[in-house]
Symmetry: C2
Subunit: 331 residues, 2 copies
């Protein structure tokens, strides 16, 4: 299969602006909370009165705009659960990630942190966020991200990864440093912020990973005229529950590419993959043109859930770029 490799050789690119903003969110007011005395190592005791107003549920977005784009639309990159926009930046092994790849390919690139996470900021719980945060252990990351089979993680012995894994195993600790807490109960705020992002940016292509897939399909249904392409990578979320209620006929003019890596059959991902197949069928029924980039089926083996960090991430980006070209996304 052909691969767009020319871009990887670009030595530099002309940037008009590196910028950022927060979208969405609301003001909340807390009252009746007790005033606390906290100790600061640097400056001694400090009185903390938590009562008052806060801005919450906003989303951080960073963009890099090129002086001259080659693409017709910017790419918006939406990460998965337990992570932030760092997913798309330099890979844990120190090599360039997809943010770099698609800048070099001539796209303006927008990388965001979902509400609650990273630079979007989280809010007090249980007063504002209703439940407690979820932190993933390294074991959970190892298994959920399909670096090795369930039960292969060890804290004391060598971890037994899939033999053909494309994940840079020596960088697993470095990858875990990207992990952030998230909440189960903020979907509404997250969907709202993504919707506002699209309204602000205008016509764009969404590149969504894992949990982000769910939000991106919702965003496309909410703002179908603004979305020019949907790239759904390794959709998670454990089923098609969310998609049934959506009016997928609204997105029938949006080209969709579904991307999946390897070893989902041998793990609990079989359930997520089945959910993605159901989504794919439901979209096709409504007239959506859906293509699959099923990596093992084209002899690209060993990709983990974090395929944008895998050793062959440029190869996969190249295949996505080929699809984008075919769909008329370049000028």
């Amino acid at each position: 299969m052909a691969m767009s490799i020319v871009d990887a050789h670009t030595k530099s690119y002309n940037v008009k602006e590196v910028g950022s903003f927060h979208v969405g969110g609301r003001q909340v007011s807390l009252t009746g909370l007790s005033i606390k005395e906290l100790q600061s190592a640097a400056v001694g005791p400090r009185t903390l009165d938590p009562n008052g107003e806060y801005e919450v549920e906003q989303m951080y977005v960073q963009y890099i705009k090129l002086a001259m784009t080659k693409a017709r639309y910017p790419l918006l990159m939406w990460h998965g659960a337990g992570l932030t926009g760092v997913t798309w930046e330099t890979k844990p092994d120190g090599n360039p990630g997809w943010q770099q790849y698609f800048l070099k390919a001539g796209y303006d690139v927008y990388v965001s942190d979902a509400v609650e996470r990273g630079r979007s900021s989280w809010a007090r719980y249980p007063e504002i966020f209703k439940s407690e945060p979820v932190f993933w252990t390294k074991k959970r990351a190892w298994e959920m991200f399909r670096i090795g089979p369930d039960g292969s993680y060890s804290s004391s012995k060598k971890k037994l990864a899939y033999e053909d894994t494309q994940f840079p195993l020596e960088s697993f600790d470095q990858f875990c440093k990207q992990s952030v807490a998230y909440w189960y109960g903020n979907d509404e705020a997250i969907n709202s912020a993504y919707y506002q992002l699209i309204q602000k940016v205008g016509p764009c292509v969404l590149v969504a990973h894992s949990q982000g897939v769910r939000f991106s399909v919702q965003a496309a249904v909410n703002a179908p005229k603004k979305i020019k392409g949907l790239i759904l990578i390794e959709g998670g979320g454990g089923g098609s529950v969310d998609f049934v209620a959506m009016d997928l006929s609204k997105i029938k003019d949006i080209p969709v590419l579904i991307v999946y890596g390897d070893h989902w059959k041998e793990s609990s991902w079989v359930k997520n993959h089945a959910g993605t197949e159901q989504l794919s069928s439901a979209m096709k029924e409504k007239g959506v043109k859906v293509d699959w980039l099923d990596l093992p089926a084209i002899e690209i083996k060993g990709n983990s859930h974090m395929l944008m960090m895998d050793r062959n991430s440029d190869q996969i980006a190249g295949l996505i770029q080929d699809w984008l070209k075919k769909k008329g996304m370049m000028k």
Copy 2:
């Protein structure tokens, strides 16, 4: 006073790489915690076992490297308490901030989020972080950042800012969306991560704001050969407590610029300013060459604590750039 304005007219600049990494941190292991059942709106009940390993106390750093720098050293920008590296990015009013300014002036720029904050990620408390997080109310931000005098914040009426304020008042809510939780007890981890950042980057100039000033002076004492200039903006921390114990003779070859805005005399900042004066004197006693950019003294009035977000931020950046030129930092 002369001002470097040429850079602001640059339309674009050639970028070699936008990248990021995490430095520092360590693995911790949690045991004996109870397993919880949480509700996910999207996928139903989920069992959460918090026992296991985590990476904690790492720091996120994003860099933008130019194809051709005009400066001899990169700038490292360190934010203050309750905030992240977003401090240096696009201003709350949507105009370019100092990250842009100094990229256009020809520096490689590194913007980091202190340990605990933003994309650096925070860790479970009280199991890992020992105390509880600190969230600032909008009232506290309004007063602490010297947008208006103590007592002038109102949630229902017009807030009475300093009449000559340079802060874009219409963007105050937008600014508050940048606010993040922080902790009082992690100074050691923060200092360690900053030290490792400097070891990784090599010779550099530090631009530090507020709480970041304390960390930057500590970093300079810890790695004096690597620090080629120290720009200390609006030092906070309530006194010179930390500086007494430091061997400031170690930084005697590092040029230092202290920058302060307006209205500190009329607020609780009088204490922080006094601490900065003490630091300045202590440095001078050890042979450090310290310059002051005391803005009201040169008839630049109304600057808040967040002077890199004020309307005249380019003017202040220009004065800093003049100083950097004078100190031989350009090629």
